[in-house]
Amino acid sequence: MSMSKEKPWLGHVSEAFSQLILAHYAGVYRMGLSILRNAHDAEEVCQEAFLKAYEHYDTYDASRPFKTWVYTIAYRLILNRMRDKRSERKALTETAPRAASPIDVSDRAELSEMAEKLDGLIRELPPEDQLLLHYRFRDDLKFGDIAEITRSTEAAVRVRFFRLLGRIRSDFQGAG
């Protein structure tokens, strides 16, 4: 692959890189869409992320998976984008008590309804937390991968994740 510093027309991209794009486009798109909630923004993030990935391909460590690398780029982009919109968003109450008991899901028929409600709660969360849930439940990523994407440690991600679950539980039950 040529490493010229010219404008990265994707037209010049080698077959290999286009394959990489096609393989990960949807993942990055969904990640963007889940937070930005706007197809247009999500697409922009995708394009920007892959352009950046192409521009800085020389800094990519080939021994690591490409997926986590491009996710890392996209993660930054999404958070940057959200930072501009942050004023619209309510912060989660820090003092919310941590509920130890799981959400009661005895009736399977209500599952989709509850999922709707859960979605409403999750949308109120800060984008970093939303992404964490996204990685875990939509992308099935391991904590180690998430840590790499968010430039954090595995232990920290795990603690954050369970703390987040606790908060969601208490919010869910508090909301009736």
């Binding site: 404008k7 027309w9 994707l10 037209g11 010049h12 991209v13 286009s18 394959q19 794009i21 096609l22 393989a23 990960h24 486009y25 949807a26 993942g27 798109y29 969904r30 869409l33 889940s34 909630r37 706007n38 197809a39 247009h40 999500a42 697409e43 922009e44 394009q47 930072r83 130890a100 008991s101 799981p102 959400i103 009661d104 899901v105 005895s106 599952l111 989709s112 509850m114 999922a115 709707e116 859960l118 979605d119 999750i122 849930l133 996204h134 875990r136 439940f137 939509r138 391991k142 904590f143 180690g144 795990r158 994740f161 369970f162 679950l165």
Partner: protein, 968 residues
């Protein structure tokens, strides 16, 4: 077995499962609840992601639906991507609702087809899109045709979405033309299928024209609006655009075009009065500008007032006229410039006076053009002179403000200590007020003029006029008078003035004689002109000689005391009084016969030197560089310093010529010892020595005096050493002998002399003087070695040699000398001094490294990698920061973690701040260094971030602050 709740959560939600463990019944119940909960989260994860809310525009809905469709097509469990299996038939590419595809059209152009899209490739540079959506990455001319629009591009990334009703184009990078519209990054356009080919309305074009900042752009857009309005028969906008276009052309002084525009408007106007006005306007334009009309009106009014004997109302009318002209803004100056041609002399002066408040830099360019090319230049030169005088006055104020600011920069706790001054804060406030007041005044005086006017261009134009014999004498003398109002003129201008002084026309000679610039050739020529046949020329020459104040002109002025013309005699008296100020003008003849003005010459140089404090440029440098450390804007200070040095050198040269051509040598030798004890820098003695070195052909007597063959005072002997120093290097051995003299003053003088001669062989003799001697001799010897090293950079490659410089003063001197020389060979030595114990030395080395620049970064990096001791690495790392080599960012960031020594890490962090590139890489590296195990490194990283963010970040929340900023 029993597990706690956290472990159970880990079992259900985490990466580790406890499947091998047999759980107790209580735990099993909890696990099943948690697993049901997990199903809820999984259900949430499976749900489609819905956009927050539909946007206003229709296409957004369409896009969102399309996106949702893509997502529905991707089952969650498997790889969600359908790779590009694009159906290709007859060059027709189609994707199904569950496909995306990347299609290469040409080596440089690709199309990413979204689901359910179709593209027909016609040629490599043209495609047709029938439905769906596609992202184009193309290079070179390219065209996308859809049912609704044709999209033309040059090289860009853009997105086209086609729906049954129309086409949407969204540009990501580059520019795209859709019909008549041009859209850029982030902009988008929707074109309906049945819409006419997209054309901007005349109204929009007109609006756009109004928004343009630049006159040329305005003209372009108004012309387009007019054209469009004409095509659409839009009468309102024909009139509006036509009228505006005419006005713009008027401002550009393009009368034909303005008339054409007005004619278009006139053709539309049915109203009789308006028509008449327009025709009159067009007619008027053929002859003169709007400003001229005002002036004519003014002249008429004054005539009427005079006829009715109401002269008291004239100033009032005058003010009114100027107000209406000035209300046209800076552009009015073009009208005034034009009006210079036709007006009477009185009006011209008036205009010139007014021009200086209205003119801007382009206006000056126009004036110069006018001066150089058109007839009737005299008006232009008058105006130019007025403007330049005004500008010079503003510049004087500027200089005063600069001086005050410069002084202000030494008022502060650290600085005053350094210079041993006692400063009270009140003085600082006073200074600050003065600076502000002066700046305000200067700005007010400049009006529209920029701070730095392109004086060289003006001079060039003036010279052309002066030297052109085909131009009439009035114009040439006017141009010469402009020259007289400039305070600094170059050699070429003096040449022009010299030629003009020989001009056959007395008027030209008279104007040329008005140039009073300290230049010995000019003085000689002016002395000739004191015997000119025309009274006026003689008078002017005598006045100018007085202004220049050359001692060489005294005999001519004494002669002029007997001039037949009363005016010349009076002027000669005044001029002589100015030159020989302490001497009574009545005794001037007797005084001249006795001394030939030698004492005057030396005293005068004394004043000059005292103003400057230092004689030798290097002295000037050292003092200056010490101060530069505290300067607010070092680049500006450096420039000011260079300019001051050049001016000093030129004045010194003038005085030197004066002395050489007038003073007798034996008198000067006597002066070598006179009043010198009062002069701490020996500047006067050096000056006299320099003159003598040039005057004397035979210096054997001087050599004898140095050797002490005849009993002489120390001062005279030192002076003689200087004389030898200013000659060529023949007398090196004499000076080297003097290095061993019993008198410290003589030894120091010999050091100076050897440094000036700059022979590398003397370095070995100078070295012992650096090591053991009186302090003043050691400093002088170090400086001399520095001067030699500046010319012979290899001298400093010998490590043993440089280790000898023990004293901080010596090191500092050597640094400055090496910095001035700017040779990369000295980098290794400077690098070591970069971590010297003395702050002054560190600063001097940093300055020298920054001055060397060039490939110093590479050399230093190489040294860093090869260095064995941490001190060397630290010096090299700091040096890279000094030379601001941004190509070393990546390796430096890398080394910030790998470097074992904390001192070096701190140096690297400091350098990263100094290089000043705000890249994410640097930010992350410095943020990580905030967690370094050593406080020194943490502090260095913090202050580097402060430098990069140009502020003082609170240390506790530095991370947040830094991450909220934008980095590249």
């Amino acid at each position: 077995m029993h597990l706690n709740f956290d472990e159970l959560q880990e079992h259900v939600y985490g990466d580790r499962r406890f499947d091998h463990v047999e759980l107790c019944s209580e735990c099993r119940a909890k696990v099943s609840r948690l697993e049901r909960e997990r199903e809820l989260f999984d259900a949430w994860g499976r749900n489609e992601i819905r956009p927050a809310r539909p946007r206003r525009r229709l296409w957004y809905v369409a896009a969102a639906v399309a996106a949702a469709a893509i997502l529905l097509a991707w089952p969650r469990a498997q790889s969600p991507v359908v790779t590009g299996e694009v159906t290709v038939r007859d060059k027709r590419m189609t994707t199904s609702p569950a496909q995306q595809g990347l299609v290469r059209i040409s080596p440089k152009s690709t199309v990413t087809l979204r689901p359910d899209s179709e593209v027909l490739v016609e040629t490599e540079q043209r495609v047709q899109m029938t439905r769906g959506r596609a992202l184009f990455h193309v290079s070179g001319p390219f065209e996308v045709r859809t049912a609704a629009a044709i999209v033309r591009v040059l090289g860009t990334i853009f997105d086209v979405a086609v729906d049954p009703k129309g086409t949407r184009v969204h540009v990501i990078e580059g520019r795209v033309q859709v019909g008549e519209f041009e859209i850029g990054p982030g902009e988008e356009l929707y074109v309906h299928v049945n819409a006419e080919p997209p054309q901007d309305s005349a109204e929009n074009l007109y609006r756009k024209a109004v928004d343009q900042k630049n006159l040329d752009d305005q003209i372009r857009w108004y012309a387009r609006a007019l054209e469009r309005a004409q095509a659409k028969q839009d009468v309102e906008y024909i009139i509006r655009a036509g009228f505006q276009l005419g006005r713009c052309y008027e401002l550009k002084l393009q009368e034909t075009e303005a008339m054409n525009a007005y004619a278009v408007v006139a053709a539309q106007k049915a109203d009789k009065d308006d028509l008449k006005w327009l025709v009159n306007r067009a007619d008027e334009l053929g002859k003169r500008r709007g400003v001229q009309m005002h002036l004519d009106q003014f002249a008429r009014t004054v005539r009427d007032l005079r006829a009715t004997e109401q002269m008291r109302r004239v100033p009032e009318e005058e003010e009114k006229t100027w107000a209406s002209i000035a209300s046209k803004g800076p552009r009015a100056c073009y009208g005034l410039i034009q009006a210079l041609d036709a007006s009477e002399v009185q009006v011209k002066t008036l205009i010139a006076n007014r021009l200086k408040t209205l003119i801007d830099a382009p206006g000056i360019a126009t004036l110069i053009e006018k001066l150089a090319s058109k007839p009737h230049r005299d008006g232009a030169s008058t105006a130019l002179r007025e403007i330049l005088l005004q500008f010079n006055r503003a510049r004087e104020l500027d200089a005063a403000a600069d001086q005050a600011e410069w002084e202000l920069s030494f008022i502060g706790p650290g600085v005053s200590e350094e210079f041993g001054e006692k400063v009270d804060e009140r003085r600082g406030d006073l200074h600050r007020e003065t600076v502000e007041a002066l700046r305000r005044k200067a700005d007010a005086m400049r009006y529209n003029l920029p701070r730095s006017l392109a004086v060289p261009d003006i001079l060039e134009a003036l010279r052309k006029v002066i030297l052109d014999p085909t131009i009439d004498e009035t114009t040439r003398s006017e141009a010469l008078m402009v020259l007289t109002s400039l305070d600094s003129i170059g050699k070429a201008d003096v040449d022009a003035a010299l030629a003009a002084l020989d001009d056959p026309h007395p008027r030209v000679r008279q104007s040329a004689a008005g140039i009073a610039w300290p230049d010995h050739r000019l003085v000689a020529k002016l002395v000739e002109r004191v015997n000119d046949e025309a009274d006026l020329v003689r008078h002017q020459a005598v006045l100018s000689l007085g202004r220049i104040g050359s001692v060489g002109s005294i005999p001519a002025l004494i002669e002029a005391l007997d001039d037949p013309s009363h005016h010349v005699r009076k002027a000669a008296q005044a001029s002589l009084a100015k030159i020989v100020e302490p001497i009574n003008p009545a005794d001037v003849r007797a005084w001249w016969n006795e001394t030939r003005g030698a004492d005057l010459l030396v005293t005068r140089f004394d004043t000059l030197v005292r103003q400057w404090t230092h004689y030798h440029p290097n002295d000037l440098c050292v003092g200056f560089h010490r101060k530069l450390r505290f300067a607010r804007d070092p680049v500006k200070e450096q420039e000011r310093f260079e300019a001051a040095r050049a001016r000093f050198e030129s004045l010194k040269e003038f005085h030197k010529r004066e002395v050489i051509s007038n003073a007798p040598p034996d008198l000067l030798i006597r002066y070598l010892s006179g009043r010198l004890r009062e002069d701490p820098y020996w500047a006067l003695q050096l000056f006299v020595a320099e003159c003598l070195a040039e005057m004397l052909a035979d210096v054997s007597e001087i050599r004898d005096m140095v050797r002490g063959a005849r009993p002489q005072t120390t001062e005279v002997r030192a002076g003689c050493i200087y004389v030898l120093a200013f000659r060529n290097g023949d007398d090196r051995d004499v000076l080297e002998d003097a290095l061993l003299d019993g008198d410290a003053r003589i030894r120091a003088a010999a050091c100076f002399g050897l440094g000036r001669i700059g022979d590398p062989r003397s370095a070995a003799q100078l070295l012992p003087r650096v090591r053991v001697d009186r302090p003043e001799v050691r400093t002088a010897a170090a400086r001399a070695i520095g001067q030699i090293a500046a010319r012979h950079p290899t001298l400093f490659q010998d490590a043993e040699f440089v280790r000898e410089f023990a004293s901080a003063d010596a090191k500092e001197e050597v640094c400055f000398a090496l910095g001035e020389a700017g040779h990369p060979n000295s980098i290794s030595y400077l690098r070591r001094l970069r971590v010297d114990a003395d702050e002054r030395v560190r600063f001097a080395a940093a300055w020298a490294l920054a001055r060397i620049g060039g490939n110093a970064g590479d050399v230093l990096w190489d040294m860093y990698l090869r260095a064995e001791s941490y001190l060397d690495r630290e010096g090299a790392a700091l040096g890279i920061g000094d030379v601001k080599d941004s190509s070393k960012l990546v390796p430096l960031c890398d080394r910030l973690f790998r470097e074992p020594n904390p001192k070096v890490r701190a140096a690297i962090a400091e350098s990263l701040g100094k290089i000043g590139v705000r890249s994410i890489l640097v930010r992350d590296a410095l943020l990580a260094a905030l967690d370094d195990s050593t406080d020194m490194v943490r502090r260095a990283a913090w202050s580097a971030l402060n430098v990069l963010c140009e502020g003082k970040l609170p240390r506790a929340q530095v991370r947040e602050f830094v991450e909220n900023q934008r980095w590249d």
